[in-house]
Amino acid sequence: MTNVADLQPGESARIDRIDAEEALQQRLAALGFRQGKELQLVRKASFSGPLHVRIGTTDVILRVAEARRIQIQQ
């Protein structure tokens, strides 16, 4: 099983499942993170900082801890 934090910059994947409590799940859903959606890891910040992810028409930054909750299929 892999998650968004495992992706390398430039790689794309499809969302398989989001393992998060309701609040985080809703926040992610509102930004377009839903099962079956395609996303791309654009870049990672230095010093294990946040990840820059593109999903549909939206660019989002999120910390590694949150990215680990998003399970993907490559």
Binding site: R54, G56, L62
Partner: protein, 596 residues
């Protein structure tokens, strides 16, 4: 009067629309049960007088963030005649859910598809009529930034208000919003039928800029460079404005107020001129800087660079329980703490905001710099002085760090760090100017009462009883100074310096002036005397204390109005006094123990 609420996701241009509709008439409203400032304005909508309320940007009506709770509270407790839902047209495929949620609540709504200009450029086509039919609410495409479509939207809203229905409030919000998946399916179906959009937006400018500005090695240096330039701009342009303001206030005093009050009793004259007018004048001198700061901040915020800064700085700030945006505000605090505190409003989590606001007052602002420049010249050689100043800046960072680390456990924010990176946009001059002016007005409005009470108090302390010279040891302030001696002696601060510290509570700008009053000398004579009376260890201890204890009354007033909590304000004052004393104590006693 009708009530119209503006609702939308963050970064949809909702506030831009609000500013366009309200013009200069916006004010901070007081809503029972609501803990954050909501802007509202009265305006004419067709034949109706309507109060427009700008609700905080939210992603979801039943989310758990502070803002989402505020919106729910508002809609449950205050009946509205119409909700204007503002969405970003380029993200309609996911944002439409908010309109559907609102409809599910049975609230009278109208949909405004904003950023029509960007959507057109991106090749997104929206069939307004079909969407209006599918949603069963009016739909209008607008550009809040340029004003296109806004007159039509206003007409449509007026037509809705004509229909004279009683206002509706939405109780039981969470019960009514159970069927999430249903809303999602409906959204997809409506978007499929009424919107044509490319799978990805081809925003080449944004991508190219990001490749440079978010570069793994270049990103941070560019960020610091940009911050340095902005900072330079604000204070290079602000200093002459501040001086001009001071000159203006001085002229008003000597040309108009002094002749006018010449016949008044001495105590009244002193209270009005030396107390209120001088104190308020010192604070009013902040206004040009606040306007400039917000002009620049509006540019930075609306351009989308703020979330990029958060991306770059987040790794370091996360360790202190803060986030990347907090860093930008702290840097701004090195100019002036007041607008930096106001700038923390971009943070959504209440605890994160409080932690950032607790740390910001330790930023060495330009007013404190004046005091340090004055004292370093007296006490140190020209070779030593820059090093002393540099060490004070380091101390400022250290105080921020200590505070954040100590309080991050208590002010824990479990809000996940997920931010949108909007495309780079360039705000119009109108947008920038409106914001700067609005913030300055609010600062004056909120701070004024508080500050008048403060300056009157300090004036009274240093002028009573009247049979001794002002600010001398015979006044109440002098007695307080003596009374504080057991506390201040161990850090090397004598009773004369203690009075200066009491003045410094109002504003650091008047500390040097206060020293002149206390020692009864000015200019070179004052410097000479102080050089004889103080040694460098005492002076340094005084500077450390001045750096760390409460910056000024304006900062306190802002802390209170921004946190809406007297307890938090007291915590900030108490903590900074304690930290100032402890650090000065450690410094003074170790320096003396080492034989200096």
């Amino acid at each position: 009067m009708k009530r119209v609420a503006l609702l939308g996701m963050p970064n949809t241009g909702k506030s831009t629309l609000f500013n366009r509709l309200s013009g200069a008439s916006a004010r901070v409203g007081n809503w029972p049960g609501i803990t954050v400032d909501l802007m509202s304005a009265k305006m004419l909508l067709g034949g109706h007088i309507a109060e427009i309320v700008d609700l905080p940007g939210i992603y979801d009506l039943h989310g758990f963030s502070d803002d989402e709770q505020v919106v729910r509270h508002f809609l449950a407790q205050h009946a509205v005649d119409l909700v204007l839902v503002v969405l970003n047209s380029t993200q309609i495929d996911r944002q439409l859910a908010l309109a559907l949620q609102l409809r599910a609540l049975g609230l009278p709504a109208m949909l405004l598809l904003n950023m029509r200009d960007e959507a057109r450029r991106a090749g997104i086509g929206i069939d307004e009529a079909a969407m209006s039919q599918a949603l069963d609410m009016p739909v209008t495409q607008i550009s809040a930034k340029y004003g296109d479509g806004c007159p039509q939207a206003i007409q449509e809203a007026a037509r809705h208000l004509d229909r004279q229905q009683p206002p509706v409030s939405a109780e039981r919000i969470s019960e009514l919003l159970r069927a999430d998946t249903q809303i999602e399916q409906e959204m997809e179906s409506i978007v499929r039928r009424t919107v044509q959009m490319p799978a990805q937006l081809d925003d080449r400018l944004t991508r190219r800029l990001d490749r440079l500005l978010l570069h793994p090695w270049l990103g941070l240096p560019l960020f610091f460079g940009a911050m340095y330039l902005l900072f330079q701009f604000i204070f290079t342009a602000g200093a002459p404005l501040q001086d001009g303001m001071a000159w203006l206030l001085d002229s008003i005093r000597s040309l108009a107020l002094e002749p006018l009050l010449a016949g008044a009793p001495a105590w009244l004259n002193g209270l009005l001129l030396d107390g209120i007018y001088n104190g308020v004048g010192t604070v009013a001198a902040f206004v040009p800087i606040i306007i400039l700061f917000f002009l620049v901040m509006t540019m930075v915020e609306d351009s989308g660079y703020l979330s990029r800064a958060a991306f770059l700085m987040d790794a370091a700030m996360a360790k202190m329980g803060l986030d990347g945006r907090g860093f930008v505000m702290m840097l701004m605090g090195f100019g002036c703490n007041v607008p930096a505190l106001m700038g923390t409003r971009v943070m959504r989590s209440h605890n994160l905001r409080l932690l950032t606001m607790l740390a910001i007052p330790f930023s060495l602002c330009s007013a404190r710099l004046q005091v340090f420049l004055f004292l370093t010249v007296i006490l140190f050689t020209p070779q030593q002085a820059p090093l002393v100043l540099f060490s004070l800046y380091l101390m400022s960072f250290a105080a921020i760090f200590i505070t954040a680390v100590l309080y991050k456990g208590r002010l824990r924010n479990d809000e996940p760090f997920i931010l949108e990176l909007p495309p780079y946009r360039f705000p119009t001059l109108r947008q920038i100017w409106q914001r700067g002016w609005q913030e300055a007005r609010h600062f004056l409005h909120r701070a004024s009462k508080f500050i008048i009470i403060g300056v009157v108090l300090v004036w009274a302390l240093t002028n009573y009883p009247t049979d001794v010279p002002p600010a001398s040891s015979g006044t109440i302030a002098g007695h307080i100074g003596e009374w504080l001696a057991p506390v201040l002696d161990p850090i090397g601060i004598d009773s004369q310096l203690a009075i200066a510290l009491i003045f410094g509570f109002v504003a650091k700008e008047i500390v040097v002036g206060a020293l002149a009053v206390i020692y009864g000398l000015q200019g070179d004579a004052l410097m000479q005397l102080m050089g004889q009376q103080l040694d460098w260890v005492q002076g340094m201890s005084f500077m450390l204390f001045t750096l760390i204890y409460t910056p000024c009354l304006s900062t306190i007033a802002t802390l209170k109005s921004e946190s809406k909590s007297t307890g938090f304000m007291m915590l900030s004052i108490g903590w900074s006094l304690l930290l100032a004393w402890v650090i000065s104590f450690i410094f003074y006693q170790s320096a003396r123990a080492l034989g200096f």
